[in-house]
Symmetry: C2
Subunit: 336 residues, 2 copies
């Protein structure tokens, strides 16, 4: 038994506390219907339940990340919070920490690789954070040194109880919004989102299936759950997927403890499945999502997760919508 499985998991009360801390400053995102055709080769699709979308791409800043970042900062004792926060991210988590820090009137430093595109660096700066650019090799070291030196609190993107509790509010809302829910599909990267959702859902409705979804090209979590040992994939491997929000090379320690105890299965989708899902979400659902945000719906739309006969509605968490319009334009005009 690995040590991680002995870590106490995040409890429902912590997730409810996060929801209270939000106090209306984080959006309760809608659940949308998706009337897209399902292509599940060799399987009868006529009796499939409806696919619903938990629309976190419509969350503030375009992704679920603000939930965890906000809760992590709001949970800090005032004297700790006053010293500011630090994090590392080239994506949605950096923006989320910058915004949550600004709301709390404290300083945020976001460490980003010097290879990050200007638009992402400018996006974080526009939210009031200080950006420190480092070489990719220094990315995992520098933030901790910085926290040590300045006394700033590290807001880890996923390996944090408070972040997991914040992301768990997605599951809390979902059970209220879809009482007949039979399964929820959640994209997996470092594992913070699915850990929180699983903690919220399983505490209340152990009968609801919590299914992780990963790109085939970054399937370390699927491998971990199958083997029982946390897998680590090479960076160059996980960077092959276009789902740029799902390129973590391994699960966090705390997420791994949640996933091995609470998650029913982790399925994988191909790059072609992701493109088809982006297309289906746009043409049938009228929603523009980023590739990482299309991964969970892709598992249903492309038959990678087929619910049992007679099951109630399935919800896929659309994790984010921060997509380059040119990418969506190219997918919209592609033939499937």
């Amino acid at each position: 038994m690995s040590p991680s499985s002995e870590l106490p998991l995040v409890g429902l009360s912590e997730i409810v506390a996060a929801d209270r801390r939000f106090a209306g400053r984080i959006r309760r995102t809608p659940v949308l219907h998706l009337d897209a055709p399902v292509s599940a080769p060799g399987r009868t699709t006529e009796r499939l339940p409806e696919l619903l979308l938990k629309a976190e791409h419509l969350q503030m800043l375009g992704s679920f990340k603000i939930r965890g970042a906000f809760n992590a900062i709001a949970s800090l004792p005032e004297e700790v919070r006053a010293r500011g926060v630090v994090t590392f991210s080239s994506g949605n988590h950096g923006k989320a920490v910058a915004h949550a820090a600004a709301v709390h009137g404290i300083k945020a430093t976001v460490v980003m690789p010097d290879t990050a595109p200007d638009v992402k660096i400018d996006g974080v700066r526009a939210l009031g954070a200080t950006v420190e650019l480092v070489t990719p090799e220094r990315r995992d070291v520098h933030p901790y040194e910085l926290a040590e030196r300045t006394g700033a609190h590290m807001v880890h993107p996923f390996d944090s109880r408070e972040v997991i509790a914040g992301q768990g509010t997605v599951g809390l809302e979902l059970l209220q919004q879809v009482p007949a829910l039979s399964a929820v599909l959640v994209p997996v990267s470092g594992g913070g989102l699915i850990s929180g959702v699983a903690a919220a859902v399983k505490a209340q409705r152990p009968d609801v299936a919590v299914i992780g979804v990963e790109p085939e090209l970054a399937a370390d979590a699927a491998e971990s759950l199958r083997s029982g040992e946390r897998a680590v994939w090479p960076t160059e491997d996980v960077y092959r997927t276009r789902a740029d929000g799902l390129r973590a090379t391994s699960l966090g320690t705390l997420p791994w403890a949640h996933i091995r105890q609470l998650v029913d299965d982790i399925v994988t989708v191909s790059e072609d499945d992701i493109s088809r899902a982006i297309h289906g979400l746009a043409c049938h659902g009228k929603q523009l999502v980023e590739p990482s945000g299309a991964v969970a719906p892709a598992a249903f739309l492309c038959g990678r997760y087929v619910p049992p006969a007679g099951a109630g509605p399935v919800t896929a968490v659309v994790s984010g919508g921060n997509v380059d319009p040119a990418l969506v334009a190219s997918v919209l005009t592609a033939q499937f």
Copy 2:
């Protein structure tokens, strides 16, 4: 005083009755936040209230039209309904009548101009309706002859109490969803949608501004409200706008009675405003909408309707999302 202003208007009880008839078979569409920049030349935009979207493009079949069509058919006495329904439409109303008829197990005939694209004809047929193609000149005559000959009931796209009452459920939901509402922006074509919304809103909250929005190139209703006389525009004029759902040449008689008594103002938007709004809705709101569906948000985003200082949130009704993906792709990659 024109005779139309003496017609009794649709009352709140008829709209509430429509909502009851839906019995969950029509979606209660979500209200979405739109964090898009406002370009109102020469005006301070910093103090503008938030723009919300009543997302009828996420309604069943992709537009609000099912509300009116469903209510019209559900309201019929059983022996009348059994004789079937007929309507004329080359767009969303035809699909709505076809679907509502299928739900009620009755026959629907949709008269369409023989110039309609195959994809629209096939769309109506796929919903189980019979399509009769006529020359554009016969479009307004043939459906009435057909109704006369077969005993089928005519479901007019907008000049009908039951259709107006059905569309009014948009306003009913909106007041529940946005209690602090200060104004609602509604696209105007034949006038059925704005009549229903105005009837629902003004009966409960006369302080909420109900503002119509039309393309400059099809602004017969704006002219009518200004002059006090119902204007009729030439077909070739209104066909200049890309908002193909808003090409009615004049208001219906019953809508005109509602609009002159209940609507506060009708503003117009340019074709460029419509393109900017499609772009803003996609890039900032992650929503794909048809040009007609972008017209009401355009009035706010382009400064054609500027709410008074200190006003509460404004909601724009996004009427539909049935758009050619290639059109959206071209707007997504355009520079504004």
